[in-house]
């Protein structure tokens, strides 16, 4: 039974240990805050959202598939949340039965557990079916309509009746009958469990037709004999205990997938509620088919700043106009990094199928997104730092695919400007010529000057605005790089301004 709410044709799997790339993207884009808002205190939602956001970007059909489910979720939030809670409850119940050596060594114990767990699962499956039946008329998305149809087909009244009967027969109130052969060393072997009789009466009826029968009984005080009988019984029900336990695994797997995939949409609902509370806008973005298509945003802002509750944040517009490279320069503390982050987050969120923090967003889908941000923490080791930056870069190169996107923030600035610019120029040129999209925040003027001289590169230059009086507006506007950064301003601000009282 498939859930398939994230992909039309397959399950979503969570990679429990994110690659280095995932960790870098998490840190560099400040994803943790966003995930916290999505999780609303539920670690599972945090994990699912993280995994979806950090997965390789799916193709556009998948993005649209998820967007449709998300629209249904936004229209029927209570139904989605109830379905999610049913899955959660089913799984919590199952977790009471911990597997240990005790269960796994005795088929009789496995069978006992299997009966109890399956009873509880059957209850929750019935509830799930009822909940979906209530709202299915409102579903518009392929994902949820298909799921409703699957539940309809598979969870029929007849199915539930069968489950009830099995769980009763497996109590073996009239004894356990197996067929057997003589195995190696004459030991009884090839036990095949035969359908138990339903009642004492039919049992008697059958027995009369069975021909000769030989019987013996173990004395009640004969402990080793009783153990040996238990051994035969356990071998007889070994397979059915296995099958039933596997069935509980499979139903559990269904609930796990359901919980996980619904969890993503519940997390999206949580995020939208947070943004609504903060009074900011969001939009369902338009994924673009062609990588060269017009990539543009209006009113783009960084949700991480919003969620941190720092009051109203400045939003920005941009339009790539077919450029392959975006270079952002300008004043320190002028909003460059925030802008770069907001683009990175918008891309990740769009590719995950989520809403985007902007008034309007249209962007191409990249297979992978990488970040290479300057690390402040190990500033003490100046000599080792360039080495570390280059090592990180090399790891990124190992995982690049054509069409990937790399965000650079003040990369290769840990050596002198001339050398840093030389190294960065070679890397950026090679990446762009290999079909990689590159977004760069830099204050290496030598680099920006030389980038303009590379044939066929055509970078788009944006600049953090600074007013005549040196004030920053945090607006990022088209503009060629200026030969100086604004360090002196900052220095002045910190050292010469009167402290505000």
């Amino acid at each position: 039974m498939n859930v398939h709410l994230l992909f039309p044709d397959r399950d979503f799997t969570v990679d429990p240990s994110p690659a280095q790339r995932g960790r870098d993207v998490m840190d560099d884009l400040g994803l943790h805050k966003l995930l916290q808002a999505m999780a609303g205190g539920n670690p599972l939602l945090y994990e699912v959202a993280r995994a979806v956001l950090l997965s390789d970007g799916p193709d556009i059909a998948v993005i649209r598939y998820r967007q449709a489910v998300l629209e249904d979720a936004l229209q029927n939030p209570e139904c989605l949340r109830t379905m999610f809670q049913i899955a959660e409850r089913a799984l919590v119940g199952e977790r009471h039965w911990l597997f240990g050596s005790f269960w796994s060594q005795r088929p009789s114990a496995l069978l006992h557990r299997g009966i109890d767990v399956m009873e509880a699962f059957a209850r929750e499956l019935m509830r799930l079916k009822a909940t979906v039946d209530e709202s299915r008329h409102a579903f518009r998305s392929e994902g949820l309509r298909t799921l409703a149809a699957v539940l309809d087909d598979e969870l029929s009244p007849a199915f539930f009746e069968h489950v009830r009967e099995h769980l009763r027969l497996l109590q073996f109130t009239e004894g356990t009958t197996v067929s057997a052969r003589l195995g190696p060393g004459m030991r009884p072997t090839e036990f095949v469990l035969r359908r138990p009789a339903k009642s004492r009466r039919s049992w008697r009826g059958l027995r009369s037709s069975r021909g000769p029968a030989f019987t013996f009984t173990i004395n009640e005080r004969d402990e080793s004999g009783a153990q040996a009988v238990a051994g035969l019984y356990n071998r007889g029900i070994n397979q059915v205990a296995d099958v039933l336990t596997q069935a509980t695994d499979h139903v559990k797997s269904f609930f796990t997938r359901l919980e996980r995939e619904l969890g993503f949409y519940v997390a999206c609902l949580n995020l939208c509620e947070h943004l609504q509370t903060a009074g900011t806008v969001w939009t369902l973005p338009t994924p673009l088919d062609h990588p060269q298509s017009d990539w543009r945003a209006e009113g783009l802002y960084d949700p991480v700043l919003t969620l941190a509750g720092r009051g109203p944040v400045v939003d920005n517009d941009f339009q790539m106009d077919g450029h392959d490279v975006l270079v952002i320069t300008g004043a320190n503390q002028g909003g460059k990094s925030t802008f770069l982050r907001s683009i990175g987050l918008a891309q990740l969120m769009m590719q995950a199928g989520m809403v985007v923090c902007a008034r309007r967003y249209e962007g191409p889908a990249f297979p992978r997104l990488f970040t290479h941000f300057r690390r402040e923490e190990d500033a003490a080791l100046e000599r080792g730092k360039l080495d570390e930056e280059l090592a990180r870069m090399s790891q990124i190169v190992d995982h690049l695919q054509p069409g990937s996107m790399v965000l650079f923030n003040e990369a290769f600035a840990s050596t002198n400007e001339r050398e840093g610019a030389e190294v960065a120029l070679q890397i950026l040129t090679a990446l762009v010529e290999s079909g990689i999209r590159v977004l760069v925040v830099t204050h290496l003027y030598a680099l920006t000057r030389r980038l303009q001289g590379v044939p066929n590169l055509h970078p788009l230059f944006l600049r953090a605005e600074r007013t005549e009086d040196g004030r920053r507006t945090f607006k990022i506007l088209p503009g060629a790089p200026l030969s100086t950064s604004f360090g002196p301003d900052l220095f002045r601000e910190v050292f010469y301004q009167e402290p505000r009282s």
Binding site: M1, P107, L110, F159, V163, H166, E174, G175, T176, T177, V178, S179, A180, R181, L182, P184, G185, M186, R187, L193, R194, R195, R210, P212, A213, F214, T215, T217, E220, G225, A228, V229, G231, L232, R235, G236, N238, Q239, V240, A241, D242, T245, Q246, A247, D249, H250, V251, S253, F254, L386, D387, L390, M393, S394, V397, E419, E422, Q426, I427, A430
Partner: protein
């Protein structure tokens, strides 16, 4: 059918003696041999110990401790080895060995187990397995490309045995009883402590019914919760009880089984079991060799030249060291192979060089080549041309007895004297750091004396020594030296040979090292 025909004495041809010994004489010597005295010095105790440990039940030590005295015997074994190298033959013999191991296991069960029906069952199993083993080996050898006198002779004798009516009837009877037992099905009902056995009745398979109900949830990857029941070989009391009831349901089949095991107690042929043990010599050695060879080290069949002292061994190495390296780590440091050559004129090899430079290792390797060659085995190395010899004598400085003074020196001399007494012009003598317990002058004097005597005797000598003076100008002496790295004299290369007597910036360099320059990146990013 007469009793004669059933129990007639058609056995594996007694005229066909042995897969190991071309002559009975060598076979007799191998009954209870004395372990050669050089075993510890050459670390052959470790090598042979490892080899025989793979098949303890066959007690192969005596075979490995009996060097052959005739090149014909060596050639006989080399030919069998070459046949065994063929994957088809090797596979057939490995299968055979596994079969026979199983047969022995079954027969042990028969002796050890308490219930008559299970004894009979295992006995029947043993007979069937033996029959299969013989038939399968016979079929495999019939079609196999074997050329050695040993295996061709055995295959012929085995063919006659397998075709004998005694063997065929044994198989057929076993087959019939097995088939009858295999058809038995019964029904067992357990209710509390009461067990009921009935003839088989075909009610629906309930496990399948449960599986069908839940199949809609089925996933591709799934755990198995089938419990593996320990010790499936022996029957408990209750099972014996159940089987006794089954025997009541099928008295005829069980009666035939009991009669069968009473009649065929001595079904194993002594000639066949002898082959089974002796062939393990080859298989055990080849298994061992394959493991070492897997690490990239070569083996070859030595060419034994009688009456000439030319030695030409290429890329040989110390087996014990290679084995040790491989067993200690998954990715062992390679053992360095070395060449060892002496012209027909040269008789004494003198190896000098720094400590821990691989001198002793090479001396050991040479000794191993000579000894293993005398067993008829493939030897470590890419190729080996060596004289046929009558024995290997060694004297190695022993760490545990490296005391000083007269006692030690005297012991050394006594042992050397003994070597001189027993060695001949056809012997190999390997001396490693003798006379270290005395003064330099004494050592030089004593060593020169020893060498003169050995030279006079005509034995082939390998001498490891720090006394470079011993190398001085004698055409019968060849000197070897352990090499050091010319750039770093503290580094050992373990190679032993015949003695012959930028203008980039820091950042750009770093980028290049990380393969991040423009051309490097373009190459890395080209799919």
């Amino acid at each position: 059918m007469t009793r004669e025909e059933l129990h007639g004495d058609v056995r594996l041809d007694p005229a066909w003696p042995s897969i190991l010994f071309e002559r009975d004489e060598d076979a007799d010597r191998s009954v209870n041999p004395a372990r050669p005295t050089h075993f510890e010095d050459l670390h052959l105790d470790q090598v042979i110990g490892t080899i025989v440990a793979s098949r303890p039940e066959h007690h192969l030590e005596p075979f490995f401790e009996t060097p052959l005295r005739y090149t014909a015997g060596i050639a006989y074994r080399q030919a069998v080895f070459r046949d065994c190298e063929n994957p088809v033959v090797r596979q057939a013999l490995d299968t055979w060995s596994a079969h026979m191991r199983a047969v022995r296991g079954r027969l042990e069960d028969v002796r050890a187990l308490p219930y008559r029906y299970e004894q009979d069952a295992w006995f029947l199993d043993a007979v069937s397995l033996y029959g299969e083993a013989v038939t399968a080996l016979r079929a495999a050898l019939d079609g196999a490309p074997i050329r050695s006198d040993g295996l061709v002779g055995f295959a012929r004798a085995l063919g006659r045995y397998a075709d004998s009516s005694r063997f065929r009837l044994l198989r057929e009877e076993a087959q019939t009883v097995r088939a009858a037992l295999a058809t038995i099905r019964y029904s067992l009902t357990i209710k509390g402590l009461k067990l009921t056995v009935r003839p088989f009745e075909d009610r629906p398979d309930y496990t399948a019914a449960v599986a069908a109900t839940f199949s809609k949830f089925r996933q591709e990857d799934q755990n198995s919760y089938l419990v593996r029941f320990a010790d499936a070989r022996t029957m408990n009391r209750v099972e014996a009880e159940v089987v006794a009831l089954v025997a009541k349901l099928f008295p005829d089949v069980f009666g035939r089984l009991t009669a069968f095991s009473d009649r065929h107690r001595d079904f194993l042929d002594p000639g066949v079991t002898r082959f089974d043990r002796e062939i393990q010599f080859y298989l055990a050695y080849l298994d061992y060799r394959d493991r070492i060879r897997h690490g990239g080290l070569p083996f070859c069949y030595p060419e034994l030249v009688a009456g000439e002292s030319r030695v030409d061994v290429r890329r040989t190495f110390d087996l014990a060291l290679a084995e040790k390296r491989m067993s200690e780590t998954a990715d062992p440091a390679p053992v360095v192979p070395n060449d060892f050559r002496l012209t027909p004129l040269e008789q004494i090899a003198i190896i000098t060089g720094p400590n821990q430079g691989g001198k002793t290792t090479l001396a050991r390797a040479i000794g191993q080549v000579f000894y293993l060659a005398s067993l008829g085995c493939p030897v470590p190395g890419e190729s080996a041309v060596i004289p046929a010899i009558d024995g290997v004598f060694t004297h190695f400085e022993r760490a545990e007895s490296a005391g000083s003074g007269r006692g030690q020196l005297k012991d050394d001399l006594i042992r050397l004297r003994s070597i001189l007494d027993h060695a001949t012009a056809s012997s190999v003598v390997i001396l490693n750091e003798v006379f270290t317990s005395t003064t330099f002058d004494d050592a030089l004097y004593l060593s020169s004396e020893m060498l003169m005597r050995l030279q006079g005797l005509g034995a082939l000598v390998v001498l490891v020594t720090f006394l470079v003076e011993l190398q001085a100008g004698d055409p019968k002496r060849a000197s070897f030296v352990a090499l050091v790295d010319p750039h770093d004299p503290t580094r050992r290369t373990y190679r032993i040979i015949r003695n012959p007597g930028d203008g980039l910036s820091y950042a750009a360099t770093l980028a290049e090292r990380h393969r991040l320059t423009y051309p490097q990146l373009r190459e890395r990013l080209t799919p």
